[in-house]
Subunit: 152 residues, 2 copies
DNA sequence: ATGAAATGGTTTACATTGTCAACTAATTTT
DNA sequence: AAAATTAGTTGACAATGTAAACCATTTCAT
């Protein structure tokens, strides 16, 4: 049959992005196979950066996901003993999310693997190309983001 | 709290990719809101390009997805009256996928919207930047693809 | 030519993810 | 104080990924 792909890269952009995302996440998951959690690594990093002050709402904003999904992530991470919900004494609707000691222990490895996989992704690119790619990707994402909102 | 994102773009690559993919697909879906299908647009295009010869296995390869998912997609598209399974007379295990007249009618619009959204995504980029971005994205994808396979 | 292995496709099952609606409790607005 | 908003939870449903078991057909090895 005709070569519908016209080379390796004329799949629609959306497909390439989602495929690449999956490859990225799969590689991280693989390299962290020794851990007893299999997802929500980046949520852990954000919670750590929050220094015990991050709420679920804020986590949802950072991750650009729904609050329902955040509940599930936090349930998962608390179930695995990585995160604790601490009621915010000032606003008692909120939780302050904090990492357990166990999570603190594993965090360096998680961060290292994420950096490692990022380096793998950029292999063969010069520093300039890498910078260019990041800024172009940012533009593309913002273009799509704007178009989505304005279309409402 | 500390700015854990260090600017708009230091979320992990995987997250940016998957988020951008979602924005892309959502926009396409929105612009094709008048159709009676809500997904699998690209599968239709591939089936069309196959000129009545594409099998489910080949579709799975092009889409880089599992054959089970292909069954679901083809079930969906035949259910909506867009695709027909025609038994391949040479190898009777296979189906040749063909578009119905209805699908042929709608195809131009689908293609146009996909191009339109791609143009939106690249808005503000010079032709050179666009070319650079596509080739860098290809490199990144291949890097991750290789790393995944070699890690087995 | 026959039995074994491989291939194309289907079905069932289960986990994850996104989304929506309804809800509680607490806080802010007026 | 009542009304509206906010943070978080719960339940439900659809979409998607993945794995295993299975049929029918075809190809391979002897």
């Amino acid at each position: 049959m005709e070569d519908v792909t016209h080379g390796s890269l004329s799949q629609p952009l959306g497909r390439i992005f989602s495929r690449t995302a999956k490859l990225f996440l799969k590689l991280i998951h693989e390299k962290l196979g020794n851990l007893d959690i299999e997802r929500s690594y980046y949520a852990l990093i954000l919670i750590d950066s929050g220094r015990g002050l991050l709420t679920q709402k804020e986590l949802a904003d950072y991750l650009e996901i729904d609050k329902v999904s955040v509940v599930r992530i936090v349930d998962y991470l608390t179930g695995k003993g990585y995160v604790k919900r601490v009621i915010n004494s000032i606003d008692r609707r909120k939780y302050s999310l904090t990492l357990t000691d166990k999570a603190q222990e594993k965090l360096p490895e998680i961060k290292a693997v994420m950096e490692e996989v990022t380096i793998i992704a950029y292999e063969g690119l010069t520093e300039m190309q890498k910078t260019a790619f990041i800024s172009l990707l940012d533009i593309v994402k913002n273009n799509l983001s704007k178009a989505n909102n304005s279309g409402l």
